[in-house]
């Protein structure tokens, strides 16, 4: 186990700035997930930690020792690749044992350690197969085994589950979590799947365009996204964004006349354009009675997912999706939706930063009516 | 001046093209070398075989590479180059009187074959002259008398036409074109028409009147149908397969023609045809041996080898086994040498007759001699096979090639 310190690390490929001044501390034994859209520099960052890619500027330290110029194998990292990158011509046992063979460990010792790892991962009966004779999940496990065999201080994962089907993905996700619990090896896990990110991370790092957008515990990132990007990126279906404008008293006005959250006051100049955002699951159905706190919802399409319904429609001309638990009946149209003000996020259109409203004085609330 | 005698064992290299192909030429050459080594126990000969069109490059390459070249068998076209550029030793300087002594008994033109500017650089070795091979069966089929083969080009034309028309096969073909031939058949024909040569000093003359007329004559044969129009690279095959009536080519292939004819057709032999009453000028194909050694002892060894290779004994082997002409005509009627063999091979007489009129092959000089020769031969071929005026074609080529000759 080891800690990782990433200090102002950048990476350029020719003219492309793939990673742009990242600072990140990974504590000993932590499980850090790096989440971000395709091309945001996740893999590049991971590969710089691994030593597979030169660092253009900045430095990376493992256990406070700068490793910028150290060979990959000397950094005490092991890596699990997206497509597993198993050696196609070697058996499972040889795949797992290769690192040991390279480091000159005697055959007997090697076999023993491979057998131990294989039994941990339930691969014992597959040891003589070639990767091509394995299923996706089995390959994934072999890749894990290969990473584990040298008892590295750091595990690096580059989207290791993205080639698996849904069920296997859940299963392997749990397995990785279980293994981390047991081994407590510092892990950095790259993914663009937010469920994976949420469920695996001790610390979630959201990247975009080579930079870190937000880092924190998964629930913190999920519940308090610091930018529109993070807000939009986490959650499925994604958050709904309603364009709004600040009026003279600091309230957000939607579609010209709707002021659904009169109690929230933004400390922004009049006319500033912001977006109000809420998660599909935060909306509750409300009668369409013109109460200002409810937003009229024009239903267009319903999806039944078995466990819940997704309702797609429009609010003040903007496409909005809401989810309802499977038990509830879909209300007869037309209806409105209401969102608690705690569940409401706001972002500036310009720059996309989160803006926190202050609560209006009680009198104001009285004037406009009580919150749901 | 070379050493007087060889007291220590010495090894000399011998570049030879007969060694480069299987068969009697190689066997006879190896036999000669063995006999020589037997007679000169201190001399060891290291034979190096290279095909005849490669042997000069090999000699040159080895010189460039710093290897010792002692004796080389080179074709006559390279004579001047060997003398002027490669540094062949003038034998008069090296061997002094011994040369003249050794030359006694050579055919009159013998030494002259290897002379450049009055000095002998190459000692004529294996050589032959153009002779006319005859398919007697085709003659008979065409209603001609194979015992009266054509003696002049006029007669060749008549006979050729007759064969072509009556048998549907080909009449006449000279091995004067194409990639496998030197220029000696061509030069023979040209020089037979009044003695004009392809060059005069460093001035090209192959488009001069007599010379061009000779080529025009071939063209006339071609136009009349007497001259075959065949793949020039396969003329020997055409004759061997019985599809050609008359074939003018080196006597060196006699052996091969004989075995090919066996069981297929009857082979005849005649001297090369003449222009009317003008004497023919049979030109030598084949090679001379050159000495390149610098070291006196090696020079002596080389000289001994060269002497041996052109001795009575050697020519007996060379003529009877390979079929080349004997440079020493005396041995022909000598019981100890060729008499018996000739009685068994009477055909060969047609070849021997030409020895008296032997005319040296004309080589070109200067660094670009090969290019010049190429241009000349291409022009001649085009003059015969093409449709343009042969004289014009030759003239144009001569003008093109002249600048490549050394300045006078």
């Amino acid at each position: 186990m080891a800690s990782i310190n990433i200090r102002s690390v950048s990476k350029t490929y020719g003219k492309t700035l793939a990673v742009n001044g990242i600072d990140l501390h990974v504590e000993d034994g932590a499980f850090v997930v790096i989440l971000g859209p395709s091309g945001c520099g996740k893999s590049t960052l991971l590969r710089m930690i691994a030593g597979l890619e030169d660092i253009t500027s900045g430095e990376i330290a493992v256990d406070e020792k700068v490793v910028n110029d150290l060979q990959p194998a000397k950094r005490g990292c092991a890596m699990v690749f997206q497509n597993y990158a198993l050696y196609p011509h070697m058996t499972v046992a040889q795949n797992i044992g290769y690192a040991l063979k390279v480091s000159g460990i005697a055959r007997r010792d090697r076999d023993e350690r491979v057998a131990r790892i294989a039994s941990t991962l339930g691969l014992t009966h597959l040891l003589d197969r070639k990767p091509s004779q394995l299923s996706g999940g089995q390959r994934q496990r072999v890749a894990m085994g290969r990473a584990m065999v040298r008892s590295p201080g750091i595990f690096l994962f580059d989207e290791p589950l993205s080639n698996l089907d849904a069920q296997l993905r859940i299963q392997m996700r749990l397995e990785i979590k279980r293994l981390h619990r047991e081994l407590r090896t510092t892990s950095v896990f790259v993914t663009h799947d937010q469920v994976e990110a949420m469920t695996l991370a001790d610390k979630l790092v959201v990247m975009n365009g080579g930079r870190i957008e937000q880092a924190g515990s998964p629930s913190e990132v999920f519940r308090k996204p610091q930018s529109r990007f993070v807000a939009n990126f986490l959650g499925s279906p994604p958050m709904n964004f309603l364009p709004a404008t600040i009026d003279g008293s600091g309230r957000a006005v939607i579609g010209g006349n709707l002021v659904p959250w009169p109690q929230l006051v933004f400390d922004l100049p009049r006319g500033t354009r912001i977006e109000l955002a809420f998660r599909p699951g935060s909306a509750v159905v409300a009668p369409l009675d013109g109460a200002s706190a409810a937003l009229p919802f024009a239903l267009e399409l319903t999806e039944d997912l078995g466990t819940e319904h997704h309702l797609h429609g429009k609010v003040a001309g903007t496409a909005v999706a809401i989810t309802l638990p499977a038990g509830k009946n879909i209300p007869a149209t037309p209806f409105a939706i209401a969102i608690a003000s705690e569940d409401m996020h706001a972002f500036q259109v310009e720059g996309g930063q989160r803006v926190a409203p202050s609560r209006a004085t009680p009198e104001t609330i009285m004037k406009h009516g009580a919150a749901a | 001046q070379m050493a007087e005698a060889i007291t220590e064992p010495v090894t000399i290299s011998f570049y030879n093209y007969n060694l480069a192909s299987a068969g009697i030429g190689r066997e006879a050459t190896l036999e000669l070398i063995a006999k020589f080594e037997e007679a000169n126990p201190n001399v060891k000969v290291e034979p190096i075989g290279a095909p005849s069109n490669e042997v000069l490059s090999r000699v040159q390459a080895d010189m460039v590479a710093g290897l010792d070249v002692d004796v080389a068998q080179l074709v006559f076209r390279d004579l001047i180059y060997a003398a002027e550029e490669l540094g062949a030793q003038p034998l008069e300087d090296v061997a002094g009187d011994e040369l003249a002594k050794h030359a006694l008994g050579f055919v009159p033109a013998g030494l002259a074959l290897g002379e450049v500017d009055g000095k002998t650089y190459g000692l004529a070795y294996v050589f032959s002259t153009p002779v006319m091979f005859i398919n007697r069966d085709l003659f008979k089929q065409a209603g001609l008398d194979p015992d009266q083969p054509p003696r002049t080009w006029e007669e060749v034309k008549t006979a050729g036409k007759a064969i072509a028309e009556k048998t549907g096969k080909h009449g006449f073909f000279p091995g004067a074109y194409g990639p496998t031939d030197g220029t000696f058949v061509y030069q023979s024909i040209v020089m037979s028409n009044g003695g004009g040569k392809v060059r005069d000093g460093n001035t090209l003359t192959f488009a001069d009147k007599d010379q061009a007329d000779a080529v025009a004559m071939l063209r006339d044969l071609m136009d009349s149908g007497a001259h075959a129009r065949i793949d020039v690279g396969a003329h020997m095959d055409t004759f061997q397969s019985g599809n050609l009536g008359m074939f003018l080519y080196t006597s060196a292939i006699l052996n091969r023609m004989e075995s090919a004819a066996q069981g297929n057709f009857e082979l005849g032999l005649a001297p090369m045809p003449s222009f009317g009453e003008k004497p023919t000028a049979p030109t030598n194909s084949g090679s001379a041996v050159f000495m390149f050694s610098q070291d006196p002892v090696k020079q002596r060894a080389a000289w001994e080898l060269m002497k041996f290779l052109t001795s009575d004994e050697a020519y007996t082997i060379i003529t009877s086994k390979i079929g080349y002409l004997p440079l020493r005509p005396g041995i022909v009627n000598d019981e100890r040498y060729l008499k018996g063999w000739l009685e068994q091979n009477p055909k060969y007489r047609a070849n021997l007759e030409q020895l008296d009129r032997l005319t040296p092959n004309v080589a070109f000089g200067g660094p670009n001699y090969r290019q010049v020769e190429n241009m000349m031969k291409d022009a001649m071929t085009e003059a015969v096979f093409g449709s343009g005026d042969p004289r014009q074609v030759l003239k144009a080529a001569q003008e093109q090639a002249q600048p490549l000759m050394p300045a006078n």
């Binding site: 590969r47 691994a50 030593g51 597979l52 060979q71 990959p72 194998a73 000397k74 990292c77 092991a78 890596m79 690749f81 997206q82 497509n83 990158a85 198993l86 050696y87 196609p88 011509h89 290769y98 690192a99 390279v102 480091s103 290969r146 040298r150 | 480069a20 192909s21 299987a22 068969g23 030429g25 190689r26 190096i48 075989g49 095909p51 005849s52 069109n53 490669e54 490059s57 090999r58 390459a61 080895d62 460039v64 590479a65 710093g66 290897l67 496998t180 031939d181 020997m236 095959d237 061997q240 397969s241 019985g242 080196t250 060196a252 292939i253 091969r256 075995s259 090919a260 066996q262 297929n264």
Partner: protein
Amino acid sequence: MTTSPNTRRFAAHLVMIGLSALAIFPVYWMVQTSFRPESEVFSTALWPATPTLENYRRVIEVMPIFGILWNTVLMAAATTAAQVVTGLLAAWALVRWRFPGGRLAHSLIALSWLVPFQVVMIPNYVLATRLGLLDTIAGLVVPNAAAAFAVLVLYNAMRGFPREVVEAARMDGAGSLRTLIEVVIPNLRAPIASVSILCFISAWNEYFWPLLLIRKIENSVVQIGLQFFMSQEGNDWGLLMAAATLASLPILLIYLVLQRQVVESFMKSGIR
């Protein structure tokens, strides 16, 4: 337009039978001529009237043909091995690293393909002589120990090899040579086989360089051996064909036995 698959298949068979016949007929002709006695050489019958082994007997008699074949096998095998090894190493350097000068090296290798052999022939001869390689099999191999063709094909094959697997080996601590030998090469069998086959064929058929370098018939290779039956003064057809048959036979046999693997290795090699 409306031809049924069956008619089309039939037509395909017809075309292919015709083309295959055209492809192998000259080889057949060579073989059957080698069984003709001299008097029958120019007959156009499809099979000799009185087949004889005489030509083979003579070839073996006048030339150490088996020694020559052995030399050729040795030379071709060594050349192939050298070209494949240097090719693999160079291709690996170009695939594994991006480094200053890499593109230059790549172009230098590719361009060497265009240099006519005749230009470098004499300097090479001089050098070979100085190195004592004259008249040796080694002399035939050394100047041909690297071939642009092999490097380029192997480069392309390696580029198609998943980068992650190579990186996995790096993570496992394998050095670059070890990665090449233990990880990359075992997975490049098909392209290596294809390249080897082509290198072997071209080495086997090499003519100009041995012609210059080899002096003694015992040290010779088959292509030069063939020259032995050809001269200004006519060709010995029966012997030549017998020798040519003997010269082609080993490689032809190897090919016939391995034909399927050869074809397959090409199909899998990614030489495209």
